[in-house]
Structures are given as structure tokens and as C-alpha cells.
Symmetry: D2
Subunit: 344 residues, 4 copies
Amino acid sequence: MRTQAVVMRELGDESVLHLEDVELAAPGPGEVLLRVLAVAVNHLDLELRDGRSRMPLTFPHVLGRELVGEVVEVGDPAGSEWSAGDRVVLLPHVPCGRCRHCLTGSANICLAGWMPGIHGWGGYARHVLAPVRGLRHVPDLPVEVLAALPISFGTAWRALHSAASVVTGDWVLVPGAGGGLGHASVQVAALAGARVIGLVRSAAKADFVKACGAEHVVLTDTDGWPDEVRGLTDGRGVDVVVEHVGGDSFEGCLAALAPRGTLVVAGGHGGEHPRLDVIEVFRNELRVHGVRSQRPDDVERVLDLAAAGRLRPQVDQVFSLEQAADAHRRVASRQAVGKVVLVP
Amino acid sequence: MRTQAVVMRELGDESVLHLEDVELAAPGPGEVLLRVLAVAVNHLDLELRDGRSRMPLTFPHVLGRELVGEVVEVGDPAGSEWSAGDRVVLLPHVPCGRCRHCLTGSANICLAGWMPGIHGWGGYARHVLAPVRGLRHVPDLPVEVLAALPISFGTAWRALHSAASVVTGDWVLVPGAGGGLGHASVQVAALAGARVIGLVRSAAKADFVKACGAEHVVLTDTDGWPDEVRGLTDGRGVDVVVEHVGGDSFEGCLAALAPRGTLVVAGGHGGEHPRLDVIEVFRNELRVHGVRSQRPDDVERVLDLAAAGRLRPQVDQVFSLEQAADAHRRVASRQAVGKVVLVP
Amino acid sequence: MRTQAVVMRELGDESVLHLEDVELAAPGPGEVLLRVLAVAVNHLDLELRDGRSRMPLTFPHVLGRELVGEVVEVGDPAGSEWSAGDRVVLLPHVPCGRCRHCLTGSANICLAGWMPGIHGWGGYARHVLAPVRGLRHVPDLPVEVLAALPISFGTAWRALHSAASVVTGDWVLVPGAGGGLGHASVQVAALAGARVIGLVRSAAKADFVKACGAEHVVLTDTDGWPDEVRGLTDGRGVDVVVEHVGGDSFEGCLAALAPRGTLVVAGGHGGEHPRLDVIEVFRNELRVHGVRSQRPDDVERVLDLAAAGRLRPQVDQVFSLEQAADAHRRVASRQAVGKVVLVP
Amino acid sequence: MRTQAVVMRELGDESVLHLEDVELAAPGPGEVLLRVLAVAVNHLDLELRDGRSRMPLTFPHVLGRELVGEVVEVGDPAGSEWSAGDRVVLLPHVPCGRCRHCLTGSANICLAGWMPGIHGWGGYARHVLAPVRGLRHVPDLPVEVLAALPISFGTAWRALHSAASVVTGDWVLVPGAGGGLGHASVQVAALAGARVIGLVRSAAKADFVKACGAEHVVLTDTDGWPDEVRGLTDGRGVDVVVEHVGGDSFEGCLAALAPRGTLVVAGGHGGEHPRLDVIEVFRNELRVHGVRSQRPDDVERVLDLAAAGRLRPQVDQVFSLEQAADAHRRVASRQAVGKVVLVP
Ligand SMILES: [Zn+2]
Ligand SMILES: [Zn+2]
Ligand SMILES: [Zn+2]
Ligand SMILES: [Zn+2]
């Protein structure tokens, strides 16, 4: 069928994004055709676009990993659980279901997984082809809110519950607390009864971070912020950090950890090789845990909790497909409060 | 009473160690007087001696953290579990039993714990005063073997079982596999049914490491050793590392980890600030866990297993108290195969 | 000193409780004298009184395991952390700090622990002697509220967090949801973001249980309640049960568990030998976990959360020491909504 | 194709098993045709045959859940990992790879899983059709040994490592230690460095159980065996039980547990509703964990360890397909030492 998509034909700055007419094949067995209702813009999209992500793309390519859509056509409709008109999210990482990782509880690091917007055309489009295995029903929420859930909230869930086993009353530190993963981590931690400290670069986001559930907000514009954080915990340090910035942020957060605390690493393109103070690590039995993507059940959990009104993704700004380059600039500016979303 | 001890009156090289006549008080309530039967020399002793450890000492000081002795006198004998003639080890780290760490399963990081040879005079002596709470009965083994157990084997136990939860069939990588902690880690891992790869700097220790239970021994004299390790695991990487060297060893071991593998940090004075590749950490969900000291039950477990003949500490060389400086030189040379022990 | 206490001289019904003048020794080393400000009445007190608990008492005896007091005199005041006028709770189970259980994270099952009202005279008195090691500072809350915290909320904490590792969004089932442990479990689970179903015998307590945070309340007056519970979870079953009733309640709760769900057993005098359907247990990988008492940090956590207004113990009724027998009758009636407390 | 199979046309005793000529379809997409090299006979086969298992079968039916075969034909050979001549085991429980259980680490309880000999024709045959997803390569071992591995050793692995987290030095108790699951549990526990006590009904199997690695063997022909077991552990009790008998065995094993010990339930048709002493459960924080089937990686682990000579399945007796009824009688007799296997 004929539709429109934001096509990239090379790596580069925002100017490589062009809304074009494109041809999509009919959905094959195990596939559906979706009309895209909304798609979130993630930092990874920018890194894919300019090549920083180190992930190879095949051109022409369409970005868009986090999307909500409506089923238009089912490839093999007989006996299918899905039919035209169903509203769905597509998992940002569709696991293979067969490899050792998938069958041992680590579907989120499945190396044979399929990611829309990376391994195939993604959601910056009016329509997209999607594997049936990646579909999940969605609750009755605005489409731009649904599009803001899977990656940010799913990853926050994995970081806080699966990696760090956060418990009510724990102190949780969240760098970049006003951004996509940041505000999600604040909400997920607060919902578990944790005491949350958000880190922000500018005071402008402080009120928003508090509204998400942070008990304190600390500015990182001076070197003393790790001590300030420690002071808020009566000198003991925090139990959990959801780190995704890297570099100085990583090093400062490690310094703010309590004995036996856990620093979850969910990203780090702001400084890919921080120094690790191994003496502090073993003296205090600190733990550093990497976390990647989400498991399907993480996404299901956050959808359920959003449906119940207990998680509330914040949408910073909505753009049209024509404005995809502006949406990328907005994310790059690090001024966004919550998620940036495209609505075709 | 009058006895002899290797006294330090200042920080410095081996020459600060002098065997002298000293006066010991009678044991008070909660104390016993022990005749020292054997005391192991640990790297930490050298770092305490020359100041690298950053731990403050009060002079005159007597080193010696890992000792086996015979009870000579009990401070408050009425109703005591102990009496003259009992053979005991003294825990290298006697927890307070009251603090939050102690009562939540982390007695090994008790900040109010008492360490012989650090917080009081240790075992480089003919006699030593010891807290009753730190005593444990010993099986019928040679005293120099008993002295070689608590720190190396206790720490190996904590690293492999408490931090890394090693499982039969896991691949375990052990840097410095011919040294005290190294050979203990090889044995503890092999006893759990793991497949062990030992790292050594020179081929001279390879046979010893294999005799401890390593399936493979890899030389670290070239840069390619992490790839060589990975090759031995069919490219997948190792599940667990017991790292205690720091610097390049840390970075190479991290590179040899399988997805979701755990690198335990039990030391690192060979390079206190290695660089951490956070991208690899989160893409592969790697984990870094610090481990400090041992819990009393770790020491009890390794004593039981040594008694049953299932762990066999290797004694490199036995020195007299007069030869304490030589013993330190032997440890510093990194030529020792197993533990260096003083027998008064 | 001369004071008054509710003295028992034999096992029996409420009539064995008599308020009398008694003599207390001066506090020795490691002890303090407390003026009792409030003491909660627990089911176990009734079982101790009539002999059902199987625990031996030495007569004359004074009950009272859960008390808040004010320090009157410190046995060895020099360098003590405590001084006259301090307000404290006394841990219901003061661990020894030396045994294997204490030093491996299981201080709550310390067999050498000391329990006020069991191993020594408890809090049904104007004054009580208490071990310094069992004291904890209290926040500024009404004394009857403080007295209602340690056992019910500490046990609920241990059951939900330590045994069952409850996670936000889990379904939690609480039998006896209107009682002491029950209402505490509802609150602790709700604070962690769980979805709570309370079981009650009569509709009279339903509103109270909902006010504690239960999403649903189910009456157990018919045999079909396990199916009703399962229906509320869309047929999947609950993830966690905090069982403390025994008998039919145990069996019904087990039948309401989801695959891989956990039934925590924190009591069971209502039927000490229920039948276990082992086929259901292995087919669905169900787990049954016993939980006993609380660890000191459990009590500290719930005190902190009560201070922050996030846990709110409910006091059913306050009695004087003279009314101790009436207080026991109130607890025995199972009509109490929350905790029954004596205020001297 | 035309082949032969042991066909059942109704539930009943051994006489319902008849070797017959049957017609098999050609393998479809995702399927292979296997020539059966060996198939183990399990207790569950007997329960399926006579209806005790409560699992519905479709007649005519062919039993056989644990089989090793050789690929004869691949349904869709293009690009397949498999080709004619490959020797394989078929997983006894082929998970769907899509459901919530599969993608959260519980593939072994997948309700949409496919089990040969239950959901389709199994291995009591000269040929069988098998899903590609259930195939695993096998090491170079005798076929009757390979057939003895997946269920007994895979389940022992899951019980000891996944459910009970057995650690070197733990005491492990194994009822029915001379049978299929029993001897596997003894070996898996011993390989992890545990101290194993085997329970047997008759002295005839004692030597075999010791040869598998048990330190002690206890006869269950008197009521005092739980005390005898406890005595072997210096009164403390065992840390882990692998229970699969039910009834009195369950109750006795629970009584032999140490505080915080774990009783794994992997079966129980010998008494499906034992009584649970809940007072003991909560006083000692005992744990009961159900375990079902195996995860694919459990099977892979035990194949690897058998290939390395570290696990050694015992084959009691080999029967031909014509002797299938005799093989069932042998299993029913509970005289078998290790596994009973059919070789076509
Ligand atoms: Zn996969
Ligand atoms: Zn301590
Ligand atoms: Zn204790
Ligand atoms: Zn499944």
C-alpha cells in the first residue's frame, strides 16, 4: 500500500529526515499492518540518526521504536487474536522466544530480538508493519500518553524492580530526573514507597520532578552535589541510583551510594568510560548492575498501572511527522520535560 | 605478662619490623590470652606497614590478622565456653553484633568490628589478647594450614557464593590464581562444580593452579588474554570473575564476561581507578559486586570443608618471627605459591 | 523500687491477671529502667496466659511484649547513648547478636534472643527493666500508636518484603484484614503499590479495611471465597498471601494463589495442621514461607514510615492496667478493629 | 510413512500397551521426523496410562516423554539448523516461547507448552514427529544414558539450583534416593559440594546411592528416620530436601529440616495431601517450594555435565518396544535402580 513515512537515506543531522511517500508490502504471516497513532522520540533515535549508536542501519530507513497504533490488516487472520480496529502498542524489543536468554528470564537482552526503527522500518510513519508477537492491548488513554510508556517506564521498572529490588523506604537517586527515563524512574520509585531524590541541571524542572513524586530535588550545577545528596540521607547515602548519563554523573552517583547500595546503569552516552573507584566498591560492597531494554512483562505492568492512574507519563510536546526534525532538536536540547511525541 | 612480638613503631619498609620483648595485660572480661601457633602474612599487612592501606595505626603496633592459637587464660572463666588448651582461630574481622549491618546479614562490613593487627595488636607475636566473640574451634589440621584459611578461603567463599551465587557448570575466571585468594577461589569454585580458568603472570605457577582444580590456565603476559579466555568458553565469556588486582586486570576481566556475568571486586591496589565501559555494562547487563572481608559463618564453612579434606590451603613457606621482614619480602615478590605463614 | 504490675501466678483464663504492687531491682549493667507509657495486647499474650503457646513461663510473671516507655534510670550511665527522659520502644525480640542466626541475617529467629513478657517481666506494668540493646528511639507520635507498631507492622514488613518480595502491582491477599497483623499488612502492601484484597469475617470491618488501602474486601462467610478472590484477579490468582490464621483459611488461601505465588505463614493457631495439596504446589510452583517475629531493622523501618505519616496503626481501644482482663476479652472476641492497648 | 509404535486405545493396566503398525504423516513446517534411538519410562507414563495423572489423552495414543533420536527428515530443510543424521534429545516440555511464563523465566511452567507422549504421540515407537524448537544436540554417550538424562537430571537441577539454591557444604536429603529423580538429585547435589543423605526403603539400594555421592544412607523402614537424619547433622537438620513421594515422606522430611531450610516438592502421588505443621513452619521459617518440569537450559546443563563425565545416569534395565508392558511393571515395582529405558 501507499503511505507516508519520515525516511532517512544516510546518517547525519536533523536534515536527513524527510517525510516521503513510500510503499509498504501487505502484511505476511505473523504480521499486521498498523496505522500509527503516536510514536515517541527517544535519545536513541538521535544516536541512530547520527551514527553514535554504533548500530548498523539499512537505507532507506524509518526511525521510531515506541509506537501505538491501530490494526488495519492482519496477515493471517484465521484464528488470530487480533482484528482490524484493535488499538495496540508494539514492544520496542520483540524477543525471539527461543534463544537461551529468552528462555531463562532475560528476554530483554535477546540477541535475536527485533526492534522497530532499527531492524525494520519504525513508527515515524502513517503506517507500519509489525510482528504479531510484539503486539499488546492498550488501555483507554490518550495515544500520546501510551506512546510515552513502553521505553521510559518499562526501563525504569526493570532498573528499579528487577535489577535493584527497590523496597519501600529506600532512598533512590535519579539523575536527569526531568527527562523521559528520569521522570519515569521518579514515579516508579515513588509508587513503591521509596524516598526519591531527583537530580536536575536547571531549577526550571524542579517543580515537575517534585510533582512526579520526588521528596527532594538537587541541582547538579556545582561539584558538591554528591555531598548534598548524602546529607539528605543523614549521611548514610542512597540505596539505589538509576544512572543513564555516564561520565561525571556516574562518578558522583557512585560516591553518593550507601554501603551495599546499587547503581543501575541504563545508559551512559554522556561519558562512556567513567573511572570506577574499586576501593570504595569493595569496602562498601557497592554493586553496579547494567540494565538493557525491557521485558514484555515490564511493559505490561506499566500499561496496567497507567490504566489505573498510578503512573502518569508526561508529554512535553507533540509534533507532526512533518516536524520530525524539530522533534529531534527538542530532544537534543535537553529542555524537554517528559517525552516528545510525534502524532501523524 | 612478658612475651615477644614483632613491633612496628612507624610506617615504612620491611626494616620497621623488629622482634622485641613486650608486656601484655592480663585478659579482661570477654577476653582470652592466646599463645600464637601460626599467623599468615597477607598483602594487607604490607599495605598497613607502608601506609598504602589508608588505615590509621596506633604505635607501637603489632601486625597479624589471620592467626591460630591456643587458649592460655580466660578473662572471666566462670561459665565460659573456653578453657586453657583449646585450639582456636581468631576471626580476622570480629563483628560488633549490634549495628544495622551486623543484624541485617552484613556483619562482614560492620563498621564497629574489631580487627586483630589493625585495631589492636595482632598475631606477629608469641601471645596475643583476643575477644571471646572472635574465637572459633578448629579441626585437627597443621597450624600453618589453619592459619592459611580464614581470609583467603573465607573471602573466596563470600565472593563466589554470597556475591556471585556460583552454580555448578558456571565458568569462573580467577586472576592471580597462584596467590592466597587466587588459589582459594580456584578451589572453592571447583568444589561447587564450576569450570575454572586461572590467570597467572608466569608459567611457573600453572601446574599448581591446575592441581587446585582449574580446567585451564591462561598467561597474562600478552594483551590478548581476554580473548583467549573467551575462546575457552566457546566465545560466550565467563559467568563469574573473582577480581582483586585492579587496573588492567579489572578491565580485561570485564571484557571476558558473558552477558549477565558478575565481576566480584575483592581488592584492587594494583590500579585503584580502572575505566568502566558503561556501554558494555548495560548492553550485556553485566554486574560488578564489591566484597569485603568475611562473615563469621564463611570462616566456619571453610574450616568445616578443610576438616573434611575438601579444601586444601597451600602453604608457600614458613618463617619464624625473627624472619618477619623476609616473610614480607616473599609476599611482595608475588612469587609465593599459596600463603606465607609465620610460626613463632 | 516499688511499682505496680499485672501479675500472673498460674496459667488460666482472664481471671489470672491481677494488678499488684511489686518490687523491681535497680537496673544492672546493660539495663535501663523504663516507665511504661503504653503496651499493646497481642494474641500471643492470650496464648501465653492460657498455655496454648507451648512456651514455658516462670511465675510470678508479667506479660507485655510490645511496649513504649520513658527511660527513668540507666544501669551504667557512663558513655551511654541513653539518658533519663528518652522515649523508646523496646524490641519485642532482642537478638543475642552472636549466634549463627544473628550473624547471617536471621536475627529474627535467634534462639538466644530475649523477649519481654516471655523470658522476663514485660510491659503490663508501670515500670519494666529492659536491656539497652533492645531500645530504639521513637518519633513524636501518640504512645498508644507507637505501641501498636513493632509486632504487627514489623511482622507485616518481614512477611511482605523479606519473605515474599512484594512488587508494585502484585495482588496481595490478607486474611483477618481488620486485626492487628491484618490491617498492618494491608497498609504495608498498599504502600508498596500492591493491589490488596482483604478477607474479613463480617461486613462490619469492610470500610476500615478499605481505608487501610485494600482495593477489595471479601467476606469469608461462605465456602466460595477463594473463587471470589480469584475472580477479582481475572482468574489468575494472587501473588502473595499473608496467612496467620491456619486451618481452612490456609487451605483456601493456597487455592487462591497464582502460579509461582507465595503464601507467607506468620501464624496458624486457628488450625495448626492444614492439609497441603502437593499436586497443586508442584504443578504451579507455589511457595510456602514461614516468617517469625521481626528483625530490628524491620521495626526501625516501620517507625520511620509511621513518623513520615505513611503507616497509620489503628488503635481499637485503650484500657488501663486495672482493665487488663477486659483487654484480653476484647482481643479474644476478634471484634477489635486494629490494636488493643494498655496505658498505665 | 509406515512405522511401529506402542499404541494405547484406552486407560488401563499394562495390558493396554500394544506394539502396532502405524502411519505417520510427513513432517510439516517446524517439524522433523526422528528415528527413536531410546526412550525412558517414567512414573508419569504409568499415571498417564491408568488415568491417575488427571491429564486427558486423545486415543489412539503413544506414550514416551524422554527420548533420544536421529533426524530422518526435516519438514522445511532450507536454512534449517538440522539435517538428516543429527542425533538429538527432544525436550520433555517444549515451551511456547510467547506466554508470560516463558518470557519471565518460568518456561518450565508454560501452559501452552507441548509435551511428547501427552499432547502428541511420544517416543514408544520406531519413529516420532517432533517440533524443531524442542531439539537439542547430544554429546557422544550411549543412547540409553542420554534418554535417562532430561527429566530426572533436569528436574534435580531445577529443584536443587533454581528452587533451593543449594550451596557447597549444605546438607541435602533425598527420599527415594535409588530411583530416577532420587539418584539424579544425589549426584547433582554432590557435584555442587553438598553433603547428601539418601533415604531408601530397602538396604539393597544403599551401595548404589553411596556410589552416586551420598555421604549417608538412611532406611525409612522405621518411624524414627527423621530423628536419625537430624542426628547425622549434629541435631541441626538438613538445609534442603528434594521431596517427590508425598504423604509420610513429606511429613518426615519437613520434620528433618533445619531452621530456614527448604523442602522442594517435585511430586507427591504417594500421598497427595500431607498435613503441614504450620507452627513449625513459621517458628523455624521453613520454606516449601514447588518445582515442575525443567527449563530448556536445565536440560542443556545436565547434557553438558554428562558429556564431561560429571553426571552419570544409571540405567536399571533396557527393554524392547515389545516389552513395554514389562518395563512398566519394572517401574511400578519400585525395585528399579536408576532408569528403565526402551530401545526400539
Ligand atoms: Zn531470544
Ligand atoms: Zn556491627
Ligand atoms: Zn542470636
Ligand atoms: Zn509459554
